[in-house]
C-alpha cells in the first residue's frame, strides 16, 4: 500500500529548493492570474501551513478531524493577546500561538483519540463547536464575541513599553523587528514560515515516525499485534497538526490583527478537509495546491460581478452577451460556492486522489509509462508526483 520509494536526502533538498523558488517568486508568476496581491498570497501561505499540518494527521494516520478550526482560532486569539499585552513583535505571538494550540490539541486529543473512525470525527467536531460557542458568547471578555478581538491604542504592550517603543497616534502594526506584517513584507514572513514548516513536514513524512503513522492508517490492529502502542503516535501527530494550525492562526493575526469567532466555526474546519481532499490526501504537495485553489476561488471568483462579466463577454453580440453573462453569473460572485462544489464533486468522482492524482496520471501519459492503474491512487506517494508537482 505505502510503496514509498527510498528518497535520498539530496533529492529532498533539490525538491525544497524548487519549492522555495516557486513560492518566493509568487508575486511574479501569479500576476497573470490577478492573484499577485499581498493579502491573497498571504492566505495561500497561511492556509498552506494549515493544510500540510492537517495532512500529517489525516493524510498519514487517516484520522479525519472535523475540528481543526478550533486550533486555528486559539492561535489567532493568543497572537492578538500577545500583541495587546506583550509586544507588537510577531515572534512572541507566533511562539505563544503555536504552543497554546499545541496544549489545546493535547487536551482535545486526550479525549478524542480514545475513539477512531466516525466517532473520532464527531468528537472533534463537538469540541470545535464548543470552542466556537465559547468564543462567540461565553468568553466574550476574552474574545470580544461577534465583533472580534482588536488592537486598541491603550493596550498594555509591556515589552514594547520596556523597550521604549511608544505607539504614536496611529495603531501599531505587527512587525518582525521593523519588518511589517502587512503587505509584501508580510507575505515574505509567511512564505519563510511556510518553507520552514514544509521542511519539518517533509522530514516527518520521511522519518520512521511518519512510517509508523502510515502503518496506523493501513491497519491499526496489526500494528498493535506487532507490539506498538499506537496511541502515543496518534497523540503526537494530533498535537503536531494542532500546532501547525496554531501557527497558521497566529499568522492570520500577524497579517491582520483581528481575531473573530467565525474562524472556529465548523465551516472553517470543513474547509481544511476540503482543501486536503481537493489537493490529494496523504500526498506531500497536494494540500498546498488545494489551499491555493480554494483561496483563489474564494477571493477572485467571488468578486466577479455583472459588469465584469459583461465586459468579458463584450465580444459577443449584445442580445447574446446578456443571457450568457446571466447564466455564468450564477457561478461567480455570491455563487462561487456553487462552482467550488461542482469542482469538488468532479474531483472526488473522477480523481479520488485529488489534483495530485490528476497530475500523476498526466505525468504517466507523458512519460508513456503504461503501468497498470494503481488500485488506490489516493494513497500513492510517488516521488515522481512530487517532483512534477513542484514544477507546476
Amino acid at each position: 500500500m505505502t510503496n514509498t520509494k527510498i528518497v535520498s536526502p539530496k533529492q529532498d533538498l533539490i525538491f525544497m529548493a524548487i519549492l522555495s523558488v516557486v513560492v518566493l517568486t509568487m508575486p511574479i508568476w501569479l500576476q497573470p492570474f490577478g492573484a499577485a496581491y499581498p493579502d491573497l498570497m498571504q492566505k495561500f501561505m497561511i492556509f498552506g501551513i494549515f493544510a500540510i499540518g492537517y495532512n500529517i494527521l489525516f493524510g498519514l494516520t487517516g484520522y479525519l478531524s472535523f475540528g481543526h478550526a478550533a486550533f486555528l482560532g486559539v492561535g489567532s486569539y493568543t497572537a492578538v493577546w500577545s500583541f495587546k499585552l506583550l509586544s507588537m513583535n510577531v515572534i512572541p505571538a507566533l511562539i505563544f500561538g503555536t504552543a497554546l494550540s499545541g496544549l489545546f490539541a493535547l487536551a482535545i486529543g486526550f479525549v478524542s483519540l480514545r475513539r477512531s473512525g466516525i466517532y473520532f470525527s464527531i468528537l472533534t467536531l463537538a469540541f470545535a463547536q464548543m470552542s466556537y460557542n465559547l468564543a462567540y458568547s461565553v468568553l466574550t471578555p476574552i474574545t470580544n464575541g461577534e465583533t472580534g478581538l482588536q488592537l486598541t491604542q491603550g493596550d498594555a504592550r509591556v515589552l514594547d513599553r520596556m523597550a521604549g517603543i511608544e505607539a504614536d497616534a496611529s495603531l501599531p502594526t505587527p512587525n518582525l523587528f521593523g519588518i511589517e506584517g502587512i503587505g509584501y513584507s508580510g507575505f515574505y514572513i509567511c512564505a519563510a514560515l511556510l518553507l520552514i514548516s514544509f521542511f519539518i513536514y517533509l522530514r516527518i513524512f520521511r522519518s520512521p515516525f511518519g512510517l509508523k503513522l502510515r502503518a496506523i492508517k493501513s491497519n491499526q490492529n496489526r500494528m498493535g499485534y506487532t507490539g506498538f502502542s499506537t496511541r502515543p503516535y496518534l497523540m503526537t501527530a494530533f498535537v503536531i497538526s494542532g500546532m501547525y494550525a496554531g501557527l497558521a492562526g497566529s499568522l492570520l493575526a500577524v497579517t491582520d490583527p483581528l481575531a473573530g469567532a467565525e474562524r472556529m466555526q465548523w465551516t472553517a474546519s470543513g474547509e481544511v478537509v476540503l482543501i486536503t481532499i481537493l489537493g490529494g490526501v496523504g500526498t506531500l504537495i497536494g494540500p498546498l495546491l488545494g489551499a491555493g485553489i480554494i483561496k483563489y476561488f474564494e477571493n477572485i471568483f467571488s468578486a466577479f460581478n455583472e459588469t465584469v462579466l459583461l465586459n468579458a463577454f463584450s465580444f459577443l453580440p449584445d442580445w447574446l452577451a446578456h443571457p450568457v453573462a446571466a447564466v455564468v453569473g450564477l457561478f461567480v460572485g455570491e455563487g462561487w460556492h456553487l462552482t467550488l462544489g461542482l469542482v469538488f464533486m468532479l474531483i472526488v468522482i473522477f480523481l479520488p486522489g485529488g489534483i495530485m492524482e490528476g497530475i500523476s496520471r498526466l505525468a504517466r501519459l507523458i512519460t508513456n509509462r503504461n503501468k497498470a492503474e494503481p488500485k488506490s491512487g489516493a494513497h500513492e506517494n510517488k516521488e515522481k508526483e512530487q517532483a512534477s508537482a513542484g514544477e507546476v
Partner: protein
C-alpha cells in the same frame, strides 16, 4: 496645498520654478486640471488614481448571510449613485442636495468605476474583501456593510491602510463612539438616537407602567442598542425584566421566546435586524404573544430598528409594530422624491433605508473630493468633517467633525394595518427633529486617530 499626479513630462527644475506660481494658481483657480502639476512635496497615498482616466470605488456589501437582502439593495443604490455621478440617468439627488459641487462628469473629471465584494456579514471575510479592493484594485474609497461588527472591523482596517470608509447600514453607538476612526464616516443614525426618538412615542402609546423583556443580537450593535433602549425606556418609567442575548443568524428563536411568556413582561423588545428580526418577530407572533393580556395590559412588541425590507419579510406579523428608521421612501421632501423616482425607474420598486444611506454616502464622498480638489484622503476627510447639507431626505444634516456622525431627523414608524401595496408597509408616526436626538460628542469616548497614517 495642491496635490499632484505623476506624469513625467515636467523636470525637477521647472517644478522648483513653478511651485510658487502653481500653488498660488491652485488656491485661486480651484478647478484647474490637476494632472499638469508636479509638486516637490507630493505625498503618495493608497487608492491614488494618478493619471488614470477613471477612479475606482469599493462596494463591500453582504451578499450572503442574514443581512443579504439589505446588501442587495445597497448594491443597487451604489450602482445608481455611480450612474448619477457619471452623468447618466436623471441625476437623482445630485439635483437636490445643497450645497453640492458635483457636475455629473465623474469625480474630479474621472469616470467612476467600482468593484464589489461579499462581506458575508463576517469580520474576517469583510476585511479580506476590503484588503483585496485596496491591494489589488487600488480603490480610493470603501463603502457599504450592513452590520456594525463588520463596519467596526473594516473601519479599523481602513484607518490602518489610509483609505476612507463610508459606512453603510451600521446602527451601533460604537461605530462613531468607542471605535470611531478618522477614516470612518457614518451617515446612518445610531442606537442612542433610536432610543431618544422612540421613547416619547412609547410613553404615549403604551404608558409608563410597563415591564420590558429584551432579546438582543449578540454583537456590538445589539449590545449598544439594548443599552440605549433600556436607558431610554427606564427613563419613562419602564422596568426591564430581563435581557437575553441571541446569536446572529440563529434562525429559530423559539427557545428564547418561550421564557418570555412566563417572565411577567408585557413588552418584548427585539434588538434584532434583517432575517433575524423577520424570524424572531414572526415566531413571537406565532407563539401568540400579541394576543395575550399581561398585568391587565395588551402584550406589545417593539422593534427599535425597523426597515421596510424587514416588514416585507415579516408580512402580517409586522402590522402595528412600532420602531424607528433612518429614512422611508414615502417621505415627501424633494430629495427623497428624486431618489425614489430614479431608483424606481431603474429597478421597479422603492429603495430601502439601507439603499438610501449608501447612496447618500457615495455622493457625499464624491462631493468632498470635488471640494478638496484631490483624492488625498486627509484633504477629503477635512471636507467631510463639519459638512452641512440639506436635500438628502432628512432635513438639514451635519457631519459632526468630532465623531464623524451625521445628525438629522429620525423617523418613528409603525407597520401599516392595511397596506396599499407590497412596499407601502410602514407609516411614519413621527418625524423626530434633530435637536431631540443630539448628544455630546464625547459621550461614548473613543479616539479618532491621525489624519495621515
Amino acid at each position: 496645498m495642491s496635490e499632484t499626479k505623476k506624469t513625467g513630462i515636467v523636470t525637477r527644475r521647472t517644478i522648483l520654478k513653478g511651485t510658487a506660481a502653481t500653488t498660488g494658481a491652485a488656491l485661486i483657480g480651484g478647478t484647474f486640471p490637476m494632472h499638469f502639476i508636479k509638486n516637490a512635496h507630493a505625498q503618495t497615498f493608497r487608492g491614488d488614481p494618478g493619471s488614470a482616466s477613471s477612479v475606482k470605488l469599493g462596494f463591500n456589501v453582504p451578499q450572503t448571510g442574514p443581512y443579504a437582502d439589505e446588501g442587495a439593495d445597497e448594491l443597487r443604490a451604489y450602482q445608481l449613485a455611480v450612474k448619477h455621478l457619471n452623468g447618466e440617468g436623471d441625476g437623482g439627488m445630485i439635483n437636490t442636495i445643497k450645497p453640492l459641487q458635483l457636475k455629473g462628469n465623474g469625480i474630479l473629471g474621472k469616470k467612476v468605476e467600482f468593484v464589489t465584494g461579499d462581506t458575508q456579514t463576517k469580520s474576517d471575510a469583510a476585511r479580506a474583501s476590503a484588503k483585496r479592493m485596496i491591494e489589488k484594485d487600488n480603490v480610493a474609497m470603501i463603502t457599504g456593510g450592513s452590520s456594525s461588527g463588520v463596519a467596526v472591523a473594516v473601519q479599523g482596517l481602513c484607518q490602518e491602510m489610509g483609505v476612507i470608509f463610508m459606512a453603510g447600514l451600521t446602527h451601533s453607538n460604537d461605530t462613531t463612539g468607542k471605535d470611531k476612526k478618522r477614516y470612518g464616516f457614518r451617515h446612518f443614525f445610531n442606537a442612542y438616537m433610536s432610543g431618544q426618538a422612540i421613547a416619547p412615542v412609547l410613553k404615549d402609546e403604551y404608558g409608563t407602567e410597563r415591564r420590558a423583556y429584551h432579546l438582543t443580537a449578540d454583537y456590538t450593535w445589539g449590545w449598544t442598542q439594548e443599552e440605549s433602549i433600556k436607558a431610554a425606556t427606564e427613563n419613562i418609567g419602564w422596568q426591564t425584566v430581563n435581557t437575553v442575548r441571541t446569536p446572529v443568524g440563529a434562525g429559530d428563536f423559539s427557545q428564547y421566546i418561550t421564557p418570555v411568556l412566563n417572565s411577567g413582561a408585557d413588552v418584548l423588545i427585539l434588538n434584532h435586524y434583517g432575517k433575524d428580526m423577520v424570524n424572531s418577530l414572526t415566531q413571537a407572533v406565532q407563539f401568540g404573544l400579541r394576543d395575550k393580556m399581561v398585568n391587565g395590559k395588551q402584550f406589545e412588541i417593539v422593534v427599535p430598528l425597523y426597515s421596510r425590507l424587514m416588514a416585507q419579510g415579516a408580512g402580517d406579523a409586522a402590522k402595528g409594530i412600532l420602531g424607528t428608521t433612518n429614512w422611508h421612501w414615502s417621505l415627501q421632501d424633494e430629495g427623497s422624491q428624486a431618489f425614489v423616482k430614479s431608483f424606481g425607474q431603474e429597478y421597479g420598486f422603492p429603495p430601502s433605508q439601507a439603499a438610501h444611506t449608501c447612496y447618500v454616502q457615495a455622493l457625499l464622498y464624491a462631493n468632498a473630493c470635488e471640494m478638496a480638489g484631490t483624492f488625498a484622503p486627509w484633504e477629503v476627510i477635512k471636507q467631510l468633517e463639519g459638512f452641512e447639507f440639506d436635500g438628502a431626505g432628512n432635513g438639514p444634516t451635519l457631519y459632526r467633525a468630532e465623531d464623524h456622525q451625521c445628525f438629522k431627523d429620525v423617523l418613528v414608524v409603525r407597520g401599516k394595518q392595511e397596506p396599499q401595496s407590497n412596499f407601502d408597509l410602514l407609516e411614519v408616526v413621527k418625524q423626530v427633529p434633530r435637536a431631540q436626538v443630539e448628544y455630546p460628542a464625547d459621550m461614548f469616548g473613543g479616539e479618532l486617530g491621525p489624519y495621515q497614517v
